[in-house]
């Protein structure tokens, strides 16, 4: 453009800088795109997922009582690391239809030996118990969050919602919505292998 308005180009250095600008912009964008592609691989960049402020951080401190009659211990922040392998925290409720859809996948993970910890979110204990008796209980530990306080600390988007916490107790992945078969095979299983 400069030649149209100033054909005699008074300052060659400025002109040089101007001619260099496209390269600099393209290079910067390229670095950004590369970071995005890397992030796609590690899960830190996901254009589809609902964001979580907790990715890469330790979960908030909490302690939840066990579900009466479910014969499983309660859940607290201390239980989330020191397992020697990645663990899953699954927020569910008996009143939530997608939770029924995702339940077989949780059962499958549990049978495969993955520690799945459950949090019954704003759900009457007897209803949660009925839900687990009907569909099976995949949870190695189970906390009851009747008032939904702990869910607020976690930044819960809705139920069901699932978090993957690695060996060192850092949240690596968050999935808002049901874990379907596709999610299991395409997202979760590769992540479990990576953080194993």
């Amino acid at each position: 453009m400069s030649e149209a308005t100033a054909p005699d180009t008074p300052n060659p250095w400025r002109r040089r800088a101007l001619l260099l600008a496209p390269l600099v912009v393209a290079g910067g964008a390229g670095l950004g795109f590369y970071a995005m592609l890397r992030g796609l691989g590690t899960g830190s960049y996901d254009p589809r997922g609902v964001p979580s402020a907790l990715i890469g951080k330790a979960p908030p401190d909490f302690s939840l009582p066990p579900l009466e009659g479910a014969d499983r211990p309660g859940l607290s922040a201390a239980d989330l690391h020191g397992q020697g392998r990645p663990v899953l925290v699954n927020f569910f409720a008996s009143w939530c239809v997608p939770c029924v859809i995702e339940h077989p996948q949780m059962m499958r993970l549990s049978r495969a030996g993955v520690p799945v910890f459950g949090v019954a979110y704003k759900d009457k204990p007897q209803d949660s118990l009925g839900f687990l008796q009907r569909h099976g209980n995949p949870y190695a530990r189970l906390g009851v969050d009747l008032p939904g306080r702990v869910a607020i600390d976690w930044g819960l988007y809705g139920v069901p919602e699932t978090y993957l916490i690695d060996k060192s107790g850092v949240i690596r992945w968050r999935w808002a919505g049901p874990v379907t078969e596709d999610t299991l095979t395409q997202d979760l299983e590769p992540l479990l292998r990576r953080y194993a």
């Binding site: 453009m1 030649e3 149209a4 001619l19 496209p22 393209a26 950004g32 590369y34 796609l40 254009p47």
Partner: protein
């Protein structure tokens, strides 16, 4: 056997392209005529090899060869033959082969029709085209092999996405690719010019037809995609500012700027650096679109199944071509001295304004598209940039652009005076004002559509005024017809393309007045919208060739008289486990009556009824714009001095 032949042909094309790139660059540098002379036959060889590979892939789809992975994933024996064939490019692997085939076609065209070019320029252009081909062939062979076999073969394929089984969409990608890849030729010319350190009028004459052809195809491709979204997706909209739509709009804007600034290079030898930059930019934005769609870095309804390894490879190619091009630009562009000088108010000045505005619009669209991704990456914030941003940010740029569009062509070169130009356009301005006031009077406080109608009148009447002035229709009407025949086709093409945008503005303004309603109707009940009554007669089951559907029968009446019977459908495809909505559309050219069948409950059905005034003119206008490009391409000046236009026109009819 056939798939292996195709695979071998791809590898052969890679080897030939590599030789073509090395011979061309080395030969031109050393002024070695024998090496340079080898590039043209090599380009023809590459064309034959990629053509063979594409034919092999198409054959695999046609016979539904289930040992080929791409066929298994994207085809099915129950599909109609047309969609089996178009399915060849309806997937990632096949579409890349088509991409390379079109690139080879362009190379073959430069080789075949470019004999009048200086031999070093031709060799360098062919070498750069071959370098692009090498990258993409390596990409196909390395990460997305279309001929990958599966064993044991499954019983049948997994079907094509039923939304893609549509004639509009079947031909949308090839047209887009013709546009994208066409810009690779202008890119190659720009690189060759940077290596030689010289841009002159002859260069501009060569670049312009390619920019025109690429731009015309891109116009058609984008319009076809938008039309498809309108009638197939059943949302009643035509443009959603989806990132992938934006990715195709960006090279269109840059290409539009390029074909205008190439005129200045050709006629006045000015704006050289800028034109070279635009040529690099247009191709860079085409590649950026490819990267965004296929790497999975953005969230869109259009995105292909993604694989980070592919994303890294495309990013690498993007950086090599665009980064390399811009590095060469930074190093060499300063050498290109402009010779033509002009006053701000002149034809050149108007074209500079056109370029500034088009590039500003492109910048707005680019930022709006990429900002959410970079905000996510750097600031860890999820934001979405939607139609309100794009509409309000581009409007202040589009208004002066349209204002200048009618004015520019009537300005003389070098130095102009405003008053005589305005005198030629006074009745176009009067028409625009009348359209504005008429719309405000009839439709009330609808400022957007009113502006749209004014713009449409201004552009169409302005184009007529331009032609009338050139053939002296009013001052010496008797010889006007003879002068019209003698007028260069480029002048006709430009006026027609500008009027085409006016026709499109008519449609856009009409769509600004669109109304819709949602009605739950029992059979026999009716709803009314914009003076039409829609009566739901029945909802029945029907069976199609590879789907079953629920079909509603809706009788449309106006003042008690029957207008049309519409049958919107909801189809479910058992193979793909998908449902699609088939909107029923009746067009009167003045408006579209558009009905979509929604959920059924309590014995009734939910109907979404749209009344879209002037909707068809949007795509009709785009077709006129592309036609204008085609007419401009057939200009004798281009044909005589740059025979490549012949091929580009041949592609229009193909």
């Amino acid at each position: 056997m056939i798939p292996e032949l195709g695979h071998f042909a791809l590898a052969l094309a890679l080897a030939l392209s590599l030789a073509q790139a090395v011979f061309g660059l080395w030969g031109a540098q050393r002024a070695e005529p024998r090496l340079m002379a080898a590039t043209a036959p090599l380009a023809i060889g590459t064309l034959i090899a990629t053509g063979t590979a594409f034919a092999c892939l198409m054959w695999s789809f046609a016979v539904n060869d289930t040992t080929v992975s791409a066929v298994v994933q994207n085809s099915h024996s129950a599909k109609p033959m047309l969609y089996k064939l178009t399915g060849t490019w309806g997937n990632h692997e096949g579409s890349m082969v088509l991409w390379v085939l079109i690139l080879a076609l362009c190379g073959g065209a430069v080789a075949g029709f470019g004999r009048k070019l200086p031999s070093t320029l031709q060799a360098r252009v062919l070498a750069v085209l071959a370098l692009v081909a090498v990258g993409f062939l390596a990409f196909i062979l390395g990460t997305s092999d279309p001929f990958l076999r599966v064993w044991p073969p499954p019983m049948d394929g997994q079907g094509l996405n039923p939304i893609l089984q549509d004639p509009g969409l079947a031909f949308h990608p090839p047209l887009l690719y013709l546009g994208y890849v066409g810009f690779s030729v202008t890119f190659a010319f720009a690189i060759a010019a940077l290596i030689e350190g010289r841009v002159d009028a002859a260069w501009g004459r060569w670049v312009r037809p390619w920019a025109l052809a690429a731009w015309s195809f891109l116009t058609l491709g984008i319009a076809l995609g938008s039309w498809w979204a309108y009638y197939e997706l059943g949302w009643g909209g035509y443009w959603f500012w989806d990132p992938v739509e934006n990715a195709s709009l960006l090279p269109w804007l840059a290409g539009c700027a390029l074909l205008h600034s190439a005129i200045v290079v050709e006629k006045r030898e000015a704006l050289k650096t800028w034109t070279v930059f635009l040529a690099l930019l247009a191709f860079g934005l085409s590649l950026l679109g490819t990267f965004l769609v296929r790497s999975g870095v953005l969230n869109s309804v259009h995105a292909f199944a993604n694989d980070p390894a592919r994303g890294v490879f495309i990013l690498f190619l993007l950086m090599v071509y665009v980064g390399g091009g811009f590095a060469l630009f930074a190093w060499r562009a300063a050498a290109m001295a402009p010779t033509g000088v002009f006053a701000p108010l002149s034809r050149e000045g108007a074209l500079v304004l056109n370029n500034l505005l088009l590039c500003s619009i492109a910048a707005v669209v680019l930022v709006g598209t990429l900002y959410p991704m970079f905000a996510d990456l750097i600031l860890k914030q999820k934001i979405s940039v939607g139609p309100p941003f794009f509409n309000s940010a581009t409007l202040p740029l589009v208004v002066p652009l349209i204002g200048a569009m009618a004015l520019g062509p009537v300005l003389p070169w070098k130095r102009a005076r405003l008053w005589p130009a305005l005198q030629r356009l006074w009745w176009a301005a009067l028409g625009a004002l009348a359209a504005l006031l008429l719309c405000l009077a009839l439709e009330g406080q609808q400022i957007g559509p009113a502006l749209g109608f004014a713009a449409a009148a201004w552009l169409i009447l302005g184009a007529v005024a331009d032609i009338a002035d050139r053939i002296a229709l009013f001052s010496r009407p008797r010889a006007a017809l003879a002068r019209a025949r003698g007028l260069p086709r480029a002048a006709w093409g430009g006026a027609i393309a500008h009027a085409g945008l006016g026709v499109m503005m008519l449609g856009l303004a009409g769509m600004g007045l669109a109304t819709d309603r949602l009605a739950l109707l029992q059979p026999g009940q009716s709803a009314s919208l914009a003076g039409y009554d829609y009566r739901l007669d029945s909802v029945q089951d029907v069976a199609g060739p590879n789907f079953s559907a629920r079909r509603a029968t809706v009788t449309v009446t106006r003042n008690g008289r029957d207008v049309v019977v519409l049958t919107p459908e909801r189809r479910s495809f058992p193979v793909g486990r998908m449902t699609t909505t088939e909107a029923a559309i009746h067009t009167t050219w003045l408006s579209d009556l558009y009905v979509v069948l929604g959920d059924e409950r309590d014995g009734g059905a939910v109907l979404r009824i749209h009344h879209n005034p002037l909707a068809p003119w949007i795509w009709f206008g785009a077709a006129i714009m592309a036609l204008g490009g085609g007419i401009s391409l057939s200009d004798r000046r281009i044909r005589v001095s740059a025979p490549a236009a012949k091929l580009a026109r041949g592609e229009v009819t193909a």
